[in-house]
């Protein structure tokens, strides 16, 4: 059963195209990661699926209904942004308030206990630490026993320990049959949680595959060296950059590239091989989308 679906969805803000004919299906019991650099369209896609915005073109459905209809959203759990909690309300009150929107909410004490918030029940949210706010924000996504949960960068800005605690909560929900769409720009987070990854870049779906496959795709390395003259033509290069007298080659297989470089006639100096950031890898893939397709295949 398909719980969340986007069909050929486009969304523009003025001249900027945030999503360009994106299609996505999330079926019951899946934990799908949505990966991409800032500005890739992750938040926009999450907003369309949660009924906050409507698409310019295309269609979104949630549990078979329109997410813009409040009744459809009874099946949905969403996390507010950390800064978004009403500062004067107490932790317990926020949980009660959100719970009041669902037919069968998790009892307050049980939910707070699950997320390690029991001691804070009387505290106003404005006085919580960043990590505590984040935990409360994520707890709110689960208060209504949702069928599907949309978490938009749930652990951004958290320390490692809090992050792992939240991963456990998400895993537990998933293990009970819950469906999750989780966006992140940390590959590590997606690897720890998701079965399947959808990579977004510049408003398009670049890849939709298993974690292992995408890991290979974004595991791009940077091979750089100084040399004189034109950049050499070498196999397996997805992007070439030249700056400050050095040539930078991005490649998914640095071993093969270095071997080819050594046997070539290129007079290189100061060879360096370094992992790229996820963002760099994405940009390289986005710039040469034909290569990306080849890699993903």
């Amino acid at each position: 059963m398909i719980l969340a679906e986007a069909i050929e969805v486009s969304r523009r803000y003025g001249d900027v195209t945030a999503l360009d004919r994106v299609s996505l299906q999330v079926t019951q019991g899946e934990l799908v990661g949505l990966l991409g650099p800032n500005g890739a369209g992750k938040t926009t896609l999450a907003n369309l699926l949660t009924g906050v915005r409507r698409p310019d073109e295309g269609r979104v459905t949630l549990c078979g209904g329109d997410p813009r209809d409040p009744r459809t959203r009874r099946t949905l759990g969403v996390t507010p942004q950390e800064t978004g909690l009403p500062a004067t309300l107490r932790v317990g009150e926020v949980v009660e308030f959100v719970g009041a929107h669902y037919p069968d909410p998790v009892p307050r004490a049980e939910l707070l206990d699950q997320f390690g918030l029991s001691d804070l029940v009387k505290r106003q949210t404005g006085g919580l630490s960043g990590g505590q706010k984040r935990r409360l924000a994520i707890a709110l996504a689960f208060v209504g026993r949702p069928q599907v949960v949309v978490l938009d960068e749930p652990t951004t800005g958290l320390d490692v320990q809090s992050r792992r605690g939240l991963w456990d909560a998400i895993k537990a929900y998933h293990a009970d049959g819950g469906t999750v769409l989780l966006s992140s720009h940390y590959l590590e987070e997606i690897e720890a949680l998701a079965d399947r990854v959808v990579v977004l870049g510049r408003g398009r779906v670049l890849a939709d595959d298993t974690v292992a496959a995408v890991r290979g795709m974004v595991g791009v390395r940077r091979v750089s060296f100084a040399h004189d003259g034109e950049p050499p033509t070498l196999p397996g290069v997805v992007a070439i950059e030249q700056r400050e007298g050095r040539t930078h080659l991005l490649t998914p297989d640095s071993d093969a590239l270095v071997r080819a470089l050594v046997v070539s006639t290129v007079d290189f100096r100061d060879l360096e091989v370094a992992p790229t950031s996820l963002e760099e890898a994405f940009l390289a893939i986005t710039d040469s989308s034909s290569d990306a397709v080849a890699l993903a295949a």
Partner: protein
């Protein structure tokens, strides 16, 4: 009235009560005006004191409606929590109803000091029927100001909404003749008052608690202001949704 509307009203009130100075704000100005203007100058005359108290009640309704809805809505719209609430299983209806319920409750609370000062320190008096009619008139009189507040709150960003509320409440109060006894306002105010919504509201209040016949012009203007403010409020609300959603 759905349960969700009550839930929203309850949490609106909780948020307001947690910062009690907000309550004092809408109650203070009318209460202070009672003490400085009504008690010393009209306190001994039962008729004048009753009309003056009714004027201050109207003043209080206007101020608290404008600020509760104008500044309150603009402030909420600027919070990320507002975006999250849109993902909850409640449409615009319960949120709107909850806000108006909470605003009415706040209005009634801010009236308490004015009514108490009127009852204790002046000769103001009314019948039980007059008092009940007066309470009913509070809700009718609040209409155009509630809608004006919503129009401001949905139409403007927070800082602009605050300034607009501050700028318009004073001329509305003086221009409508709230600061003077019926038919004793300075000449130019006599001229403009019938065309302001405050005048219709206060005439209804005078008629409720005393022996006063409202003027047709004032009541007509009151109705026109209500409809116009309502139209602008709906337009501003739709525009706000459009800006966020389309």
């Amino acid at each position: 009235m759905t349960t969700l509307s009550l839930v929203h009203a309850r949490y609106q009130l909780l948020e307001t009560i947690r910062i009690p100075i907000a309550l004092i704000g809408s109650a203070f100005f009318p209460a202070a005006s009672m003490l400085f203007f009504v008690v010393p100058f009209a306190g001994d005359d039962p008729v004048a004191a009753t009309y003056a108290t009714a004027s201050m009640v109207t003043f209080s309704i206007m101020v608290s409606s404008l600020f509760t809805y104008g500044v309150g809505v603009a402030d909420d719209r600027s919070q990320p929590w507002d975006g999250y609430m849109r993902t909850l299983a409640a449409g615009a209806g319960p949120r709107f109803a909850g806000r108006i319920l909470a605003g009415m409750a706040m209005s009634l609370v801010s009236l308490v000091p004015v009514v108490l000062i009127g009852a204790l320190f002046t000769e103001a008096t009314t019948t039980t029927m007059g008092f009940l009619l007066g309470i009913a008139t509070v809700f009718v009189g609040a209409l155009p100001f509630t809608l004006m507040g919503l129009a401001i709150g949905y139409g403007l960003p927070l800082k602009a909404a605050l300034v607009v509320c501050q700028v318009i409440f004073f001329p509305l109060a003086f221009g409508g003749g709230l600061m003077s006894a019926p038919d004793q306002a300075p000449g130019f105010i006599q001229t403009i008052a019938p065309y302001l919504p405050t005048r219709g509201a206060v005439e209804l209040m005078w008629a409720a608690v005393g022996d006063y016949s409202p003027h047709a012009t004032s009541l007509f203007a009151f109705a026109v202001w209500t409809v116009a403010a309502g139209a602008v409020a709906v337009w501003a609300y739709r525009r706000d949704e459009g800006r966020r959603f389309r």
